[in-house]
Symmetry: D3
Subunit: 314 residues, 6 copies
């Protein structure tokens, strides 16, 4: 093909500095037989949210924010531009059948895992409801699963009052036998954000709970490290489930259920770094970001920064 | 009445989880003879603000934010759903006569107090001008009064340059003999936010002043506790007056006079918790929130969270 | 009860001009045995929308806009303050089960109609999906039904590709035998807003179609009057179904599917006035307003103005 | 002074095309003895508005929009750059005393008129309350006054329910003997925007009323011309009072009381052109623009365009 | 490749109705040897704007809006889904060298034309400065060129005061001998939007000018048809240059230089339809849309609708 | 001149408390021979930004924010109202010639310095590109220069890929021999915000780098003090270059390149205080604030607060 001098018909005309690698340049669409370090899959389901949410837009907004970051860490003096990331695209959800959509997510995650294309995976929600089919699929593929959940809420609502919503994933997982309460750690639980009944339910199930006050006393990194050590004795893999509303509203203004008194973005990033370097940690989901409510994609930027801490560990 | 299957004509059709109690469900409109733990009264006056402000909308926006919080504290393992809160509604202010509006507020607060319906009260401004008639009414009813004021500003402007505005409440109170300077504590006063003349005025009056630097050195909780102990020897009741602009603009973006370098939302909440548990603390006002300037009601959410710390103390 | 001087605990403290009646003052919540001229019911369902929509918020935003209008028409020199409007509230939809929600709407509309409390009804959507259960319920109650539909789109999509969505109501109605194509008039259909297959489907079904060009040539009022005359020979009642996206985006910026080249707000209002005065017109729905996307509630204001043209006809 | 090459310390560094004169360049601050064709005075009072309004910001936003217009009319093939406009600045209103503010406006308008510096005047509100002291001052200076009022509302509310507000100017004027009802023409009065009592009051007073329907039937320019001819027989000068909410919300989205069904911006501009060319027309006020609610200053731009039609008539 | 059940890694997961063709589905990236009816090229240059503008974002926002339209016209009863549109992508402009960017545009347009891949072309600006290199390139390729320019402004500023900006394209073209003034028609020129000097310049050059008043008197379609007939006698091809600020600010709120008193969106669309059907019309540019200032992409939607009128003519 | 009672034609009608001095009242436009403590110059250039930026608006927005601060520091018990600040206005940049604009800035800064009117200077950007000509001019005037740069980025991009942009100032300075790498300190450099090649370039040049982690370990004030001591041995003057994106996005939401994990506003202010009190510190620039992207001018407010820390040191 005779080339054009100043354009390429099939790609955007963005400014390019020849010495800079942006993280988005390291993502390639998965194709048969491809291999990469990290797989990314979008789960754009949010009609399951109790309050109307556009967190289904987050997979796109988070991916777009990757272009705001380079692959180089000065701290580790390492350029991660050779870490290949495979993008599996987004699951096509059903417009009106929620249970069908949940099942499509489970099947799609499994189909991705059976390709054995990557060592680790990032799942981009959607609302927190996606963690039910996603974690279930990981369990089906890998065996016994442990979960560290960053969250202001327990997310163990009853299923009678509205079906499987973004308030129910961990009840669904525990009731369905896909996750033992003993293997679930909840980090960042907040006062006046949960009901007594659900608090007691999690305790009965053996869930380990760390509140904001615990984080303030002990520090979030020591907590993470201690729990990873403990958990790794009992499970085959560990899955990080990050509900962004664990972060204070000043730092993550785009979550549907924002509130004051959460952790800072620095606490989020350092704790994910701490967790991601553990051998058994195989997956992370990032949920509950509604780009239509955000300010300048701040919350998606924070999620993209969290992805980097997960992807670039060595 | 033959019931409808899926609607109730006189109430909103919000999703309801049968195990969750939201704080707004604990508010009932006051009616004759009712008794409750806490009384809430809206004081929607903001035409007295020097700069045009819609803080008159804050009583509604703060109340609306109560539905974002449950009644359960994990930290104290207590469900406060039985703490009854009586809502006295909002004072009807006059569209064009400011002095009349101020007097209506004083009379309405007194009328509320004379019902003896509650043990403690929350006043929702409005601008800081409402603290003059409100504190005066509390003094008239309870006797000698002490005030802890969270604020970036002294609020003791002269009255000649514009009458009673949101910049004058504590001068009005001290000049009128309703509050002794010795019994006023100002927390969070900021550099380059006040005039020398007014700084000297407060010092001459015997007001105790803590700046942001004092808070950084000593911690806000120890300051509060020390001053409560001291103050309680000299007064009959203590009134908390919370100008939300004491909080940094990142955490309270909806105040008319936002600025950098204030306290964090966590410092606000912990200091109110510390104060609210004192026996002599009978009232709190929350002022200077303009919902029309806020982002996602963040500042009203913070104010609602502050209400909870005040209401749920045991 | 000893009255307060300047407040009423159970009602908002809005300014009141003693000589002015606002339309919202004429609405009362339905209670058993009540009778009124017009009944209003909210149908806050929009998870059935193909694109994520918050049109479920519209019943509240439209009602709120009624307070911007008085009951007096200078043109007719009539004060309609005695026209009583009964508000039946909003149907409680299910968070995750769409078919259940659709059925709840049908049942609720029927339950409302069986009270025989009003002569005419206004249904506030929600997305256009609500017209299927609503029109079906009217047919079940009243008999043979004719529909005038203001819309840029045919809304006869196939049901396989996503179930019953906001794109399918008139197919559902015609396929289900609830509405004959001959008795459906579509007004304001736009170029490049529909598919050829669906255009042909409506024509095969005998639907009468008026495009924007027809409106420009003939005038919207003459069209409406002619069709009412014709239709009234074949049906028992006539139902107006108003998809606000028939209006140009400059005049109705809050519809999910805005676009240029639609009718003006004046054309909307005059055509509704023309239709509403016909004896057989018993109901109107107003759909596809997403308040979260609107500018200053312009589109809800226009819908409220449309309600007035429907309610105040004599 | 040794000049800087690329800056002038006392003026903004805006791009300048040497062949273009912007309207703002024709305004000079009034100083003693100055003479000009048109005088401009800002009346930034809006705390008198029933609903909280920032129309006090409009004098600045309208002036700023003058820089978006040149002085050249192709239609008349005339460059008006020699039409000198004197800017008298803004009246300093009182922060809390509304009656004082109203009196300050009256005094300031009179003081301006007694300078005899200009032939005609533009008054920039502020809310419609400013028309009372402004028209009164014009009457005191010039004698018998006639008023053409563009408005959706009569603005003759009673004074008991809230004092002198933006709803009362024409009652104040008529009750105070400053304006005869016979000499008041109201253009653009809308259905469902007024109360029956006030409609009857205006008719009893002899006010001439043109509704939107009248404008549609007759055309706004013929109405204006006819009324100017009639009015000019009875009065010494004519004052145009333009409440921007006469314009449809699509064209003037920044008015506090926006609504559908008003006149277009073209109708506004052509009718002001028609009026401004009349010899007895000496003044125009532009009121009820709240820049904080506007979109891209559209409404202020329209007001600035209206100023040009008033200033550039020959 | 073993397919996934519910996802395709290389494409977005949008809802698809099997019977609907969206216009964006008809665009394919140009590759060597491809042929299509219409070619589209993005010219994202706006640093040449006098006032800072993000109209460089418009090529993307307009393309995105194509997905809001189908390929079917009911008026013509034609489905245009077989009209193939080739997308040549966007020209890569230089970050700091404006003359280089202008030259890159000229070269790129020429390179596109020399492929002889399409019969007609759409150029997506950018600001109006792009019309200089674009029209020049068309002239170089096709011979004698005529231009119909929709615009509120003449765009013939002098080049000394700021180089080649968005205010100078037609001066650059005429001074450079690339366009004869006799072959330039300007439609929609507005009062108080131009300077006398430039008005005279265009008249001296023989440019034909139609003002808003002319459009109101004669109608925009008759004007277009008359001028096309006349122009086609003297030129080889005709180029339509559409500055969206010819449209009134209510209908095109996203132009950098919005203002009241322009044409309606309906007038824009019908006049482009009228022009596009002429044999000699080979190209259209759409300029001066700043998506960052728009409301809900209204102006880009209007531009996309204009593209359809240009593309689908038979 | 006979005075008006309530207005002054040549100045805004803002509320004035007779005891309060706002910082803006201390600025006077420079005129020949004037002397002041601090000089302020606006450098409104941002077309040199790689991504489109309106940081050219920041000189105005920052100046406007000065009116939100008083001259009194309670901490130092000092009123700085006698510190005279001379405003040199803004440099007129060229609309389309970037190199010309850069040269105009250099010349203008030099012209300002040669007046010897002030002891210290504040330069208001504009994007970071302005630091190249500004620092160069300071070096030309004062001799050997040291720079402390607050920044998330190194800003040493190559010049081939886009000319002198906001990504290149420190490369331009070092390559041009205007600044030795040994005399450049970079504070706040962030992971995943820079390229490996540029990181190595700065280290080779001898630049001292402090990352966020260094700040967390050591504290920002100690770092600043240590580096000032060291640097002052080698240079004649020290220039502070403050790219606001060093601050976390929660505290400085209006920077073009916002991101999580930066320093807090308190850290910024205290570090500038620490630096400003050093004898050799003669200048500070504040860059990369785009007011059109900010929320409530938060970032400009922070910049204004930084100015105060620089101006009021004793």
């Amino acid at each position: 093909m005779v080339e054009f001098s100043f354009l390429q018909p099939d790609r955007p005309a963005a400014f390019k500095d020849k010495f800079v690698t942006k993280v988005n340049e390291c993502l390639t669409s998965y194709s048969d037989g491809a291999r990469g370090e990290v797989g990314v899959l979008g789960l754009p389901l949010s009609k399951t949210s109790i309050s109307l949410s556009q967190s289904s837009e987050a997979p796109n907004s988070i991916r777009a924010c990757l272009s705001a970051f380079t692959t180089f860490s000065g701290k580790k003096d390492t350029d991660y531009k050779n870490i290949k990331v495979l993008d599996f695209g987004d699951v096509q959800v059903h417009p009106t059948d929620m249970e069908e959509s949940i099942e499509r997510i489970r099947i799609s995650v499994r189909e991705m895992l059976t390709r054995n294309a990557c060592n680790r995976y990032i799942l981009l929600g959607g609302d927190h409801g996606i963690s039910y089919p996603s974690i279930r699929a990981f369990g089906e593929h890998y065996g016994k699963i442990g979960v560290i959940q960053w969250d202001a809420h327990h997310d163990v609502r009853n299923l009678e009052d509205g079906g499987r919503t973004n308030g129910t994933p961990f009840r669904s997982l525990m009731e369905g036998g896909h996750l033992k309460g003993d293997n679930l750690i909840q980090i960042g639980i907040r006062d006046f954000a949960n009901a007594k009944v659900y608090h007691e339910y999690t305790k009965e199930k053996g869930v380990t709970i760390y509140t904001i006050d615990d984080i303030e006393c002990t520090g979030i990194e020591p907590i993470i490290k201690k729990e990873l050590d403990r958990l790794s004795n009992f499970v085959d893999i560990i899955y990080l489930s990050v509900d962004m509303d664990v972060v204070d509203q000043a730092f993550a203004p785009g979550c549907p259920a924002i509130g004051p008194g959460g952790i800072t973005s620095r606490e989020l990033l350092s704790s994910i770094s701490a967790a991601a370097s553990h051998q058994k940690v195989k997956a992370m989901d990032l949920v509950e970001i509604d780009p239509s409510k955000d300010f300048r994609d701040m919350t998606s930027r924070l999620a993209a920064a969290a992805m980097l801490r997960f992807m670039y560990t060595v």
